[in-house]
Symmetry: C2
Subunit: 326 residues, 2 copies
Amino acid sequence: MRTLFGLLFIVSSAVASAQPLPSWNEGDAKARIVAFVQAVTDKKSKDYVSPAERIAVFDNDGTLWAEQPMYFQLLFALDRVKALASQHPEWKDKEPFASLLKADVKGALAGGEPAIFQIVMATHAGMTTDEFEKAVRDWITTAKHPKTGRRYTEMAYQPMLELLRFLRASGFKTFIVSGGGVDFMRVFAERVYGVPPEQVVGSSGKLKFELREGKPVLVKLPEIDFVDDKAGKPVGIQKHIGRRPVAAFGNSDGDLQMLQFTAAGAGQRLMLIVHHDDAEREFAYDRQSHIGTLDKAWDEGKAKKWIVVSMKSDWKRIFSFEGTKP
Amino acid sequence: MRTLFGLLFIVSSAVASAQPLPSWNEGDAKARIVAFVQAVTDKKSKDYVSPAERIAVFDNDGTLWAEQPMYFQLLFALDRVKALASQHPEWKDKEPFASLLKADVKGALAGGEPAIFQIVMATHAGMTTDEFEKAVRDWITTAKHPKTGRRYTEMAYQPMLELLRFLRASGFKTFIVSGGGVDFMRVFAERVYGVPPEQVVGSSGKLKFELREGKPVLVKLPEIDFVDDKAGKPVGIQKHIGRRPVAAFGNSDGDLQMLQFTAAGAGQRLMLIVHHDDAEREFAYDRQSHIGTLDKAWDEGKAKKWIVVSMKSDWKRIFSFEGTKP
């Protein structure tokens, strides 16, 4: 078998290296990514990393797909409130639902995190995992982004999709490690990112096993189990993956600890931050933004010479649909 | 690439099917396992399952390795108490530690679950994940089983190691889903079972991310995070894997819900229970045993025609060391 695997590896490498990262402009970011992958996959390199240890972790919102004007999962939750309103006549007089049902999103979210918590729990709990999956699937295949008119899955960044593929073709196992809900992301992560459900790490609510008419189901409870953000990200990595990544990709202060944890391992490491600086093709935001705040991680990234990607200058195109009509 | 993958698949299948499960006697159990694998991997079969969906979950204690005279992880904890005693002078007068240090295991465990909880927390928390991993690694490479005098990793069941390999060669992804501690099992699961850390699901304590002198570490806190047993097993599967297995392997009532959850999916499924009925080559215990109680799952398994393996009559040999001296 070894010969055949060897052959497979050579062919995959050849396919991958023929034209890696076509949507990336030639420059420092692309050159450093390619050099890192060559160093850790070359058996003669002092930085060689065995395939089993080639773990790469990606944040999702703002790193693999867009996160403006608000997290897509929150847009899903807002749509679900409307869809579920007929089953909840009490929402008519109860905030944050009352504002939402009058299409006053700003008013609904004025309640801050407690309001968001209520909206998320009302739309992400009290049902089985199968029912929730169906709700997400129905939404993600039909709902459109408010600015671009595209399906949300089309809002994935083409250069990052190429990076995922390049790493996998180089023997990496690619994981998502995101503050987003794990059950939400798993519905589309395999199709859109090529990341199977068992390689998605995210925030989660508690679950309860029940037999309903003899049929086993898992019920989503209105209780937070784990928040996979900030200092929670290395914890999520340990809980789920159980080894330290050699490459980590993020875009905000929520990714700082994951980047630090990755950087602290031995040997060569790849830490990369996506900087949203292209108001024309996407959005421009960093230190002052409430969503995807990039402040401390940016400073630390610059100080420690992590790769900071300028979406404006490092990426030839951001979305695969650019130049076409929705 | 498709052709090469196709070739690889044919070659693996050929290698695997040349002599699958050599330590299994010819009989109903082996025949049903082989028939199941053929059905779900044959593209022309109505029961065909795509490789991405070929998820197989294995309990560990009593299913992949022995669990008598007590769980090996508890034996590790008892040894650790002795190793750590010099740092804890107060243990001399404090139960359950005092009894343990006088080599009175029975007295120490007389305190029941609270005593075990204290022993586990004293030996599994208050250190970093790296420190804990080292402690397990040191122990597992030196400690010997009290009855056989073999290293604990030698106490893995040879027929189950072959089953793991057979399934992987047939395109399955094999996971451990065990009540044992996830950080404990990950230390040896890859080497012994060929199951990488990211495919080990188990019980866990809470973790805390800290920067110690600028270096990120994960500290194991003396607080339970998740118990991956009984109704917790389908929950652990959903949290970690995110899809329903098509094959599940267990040996006790702690595996019943995992087996039910697996059985409830569409299409052909494989549910298997290992019955410890060989006092001569291993141990004999079932309904009345405190460790690895097999009672309800046995009845349900027989009623639902799950495979119930008799270690005595279905397995040619149990341990790879049989017939040799330690």
